[in-house]
């Protein structure tokens, strides 16, 4: 394997990390919809913490190794239409993902506050409402659609 093969392997591994973490977050988003207790919210929060570094490694790795490949390989240019489209979609997906992360962090922070205050439960429905977060759901959907479009763009390379 030459250096470019290693870079491609890391690029693909980063893409796998990003999508795997998105799948993890989707499973959590659906699982926490009816969760209204401190213990359960904190338990799901622990799994969310596994997804965060994985998605960050994916986000950083895909752009870093992707740009490297676009610069290093003669057959690609950074300003090729499909690469520009991928960069814009990557930026949209990252922005929406960060917004979703902030939304879904709120119930965990609230549960930690309740635990610190020795309250095992908040107001009935309070944690459930935070766990359902329509804004978080919307942002996670936007992020996922953007990532799927990047994958489609990367696989078929329209115009290349």
């Amino acid at each position: 394997m030459v250096l470019d093969d290693w870079i491609l392997a890391f690029h693909v591994l980063s893409a796998f990390a990003m999508v795997s973490a998105l799948v993890l977050f989707w499973i959590l988003v659906l699982a926490v919809r009816d969760v209204d207790t401190v213990d359960q919210t904190l338990a799901y929060g622990r799994v969310m913490r596994v997804g965060t570094p994985v998605v960050m490694a994916g986000v950083v790795g895909t752009i870093l190794f992707g740009v490297w490949l676009a610069v290093a390989l003669d057959r690609y240019r950074l300003w090729d239409g499909w690469i520009v489209a991928a960069l814009l979609l990557w930026a949209l997906g990252t922005w929406a993902g960060m917004r979703a992360d902030a939304e879904y962090r709120r119930p965990v922070v609230r549960a930690e506050e309740l635990r610190a205050a020795a309250h095992q439960e908040g107001q009935p429905g309070e944690l459930r409402a935070l766990n359902r977060s329509p804004a978080g759901f919307r942002m996670h959907t936007i992020s996922s659609v953007a990532v799927i479009l990047v994958l489609v763009d990367m696989i078929w390379k329209p115009g290349a």
Partner: protein
């Protein structure tokens, strides 16, 4: 990607359950309800791609990355089924205060599967000679 995501979720949930029955069930059901269909999709997709690219044709050479992919997929299925069976019995016995050893086995197997999938992705993307 769906399979790796489901395995990652299941391994994380089983690892962080800390004896919480509801959370152990969540980890197990993620593996069964998301991981198993994802495995079937992956295997069908892989076979379809291999057939389309002529990799299974008679006399076609078998590159190392393809062999690694098949080994991880097929041996992985065996580990996957063992994890599902062990986890299933573990979940059933939770009500009697037992089953934690079986669930720990399922957890270890999902972590091993995850490592194998990462290796297979590296091999299939980098295509070592």
């Amino acid at each position: 990607m769906l399979l790796v995501g489901a395995t990652l979720t299941s391994a994380s949930a089983l690892t962080y359950a800390r004896g919480d029955v509801r959370f152990l069930r969540f980890g197990y059901w993620t593996l069964l309800a998301v991981g198993l269909p994802a495995y079937v999709l992956m295997r069908i997709g892989a076979e379809w791609m291999a057939s389309r690219e002529g990799l299974n044709d008679e006399g076609a050479s078998e590159p190392a990355w393809l062999v690694i992919g098949y080994i991880v997929a097929d041996l992985g299925l065996l580990l996957f089924v063992v994890a599902l069976v062990a986890g299933g019995f573990g979940i059933r016995r939770l009500g009697q205060g037992k089953g934690s050893a079986l669930l720990r086995t399922a957890m270890i197997l999902t972590i091993v599967l995850l490592a194998a999938y990462v290796f297979a992705v590296w091999a299939m993307a980098g295509k070592p000679d």
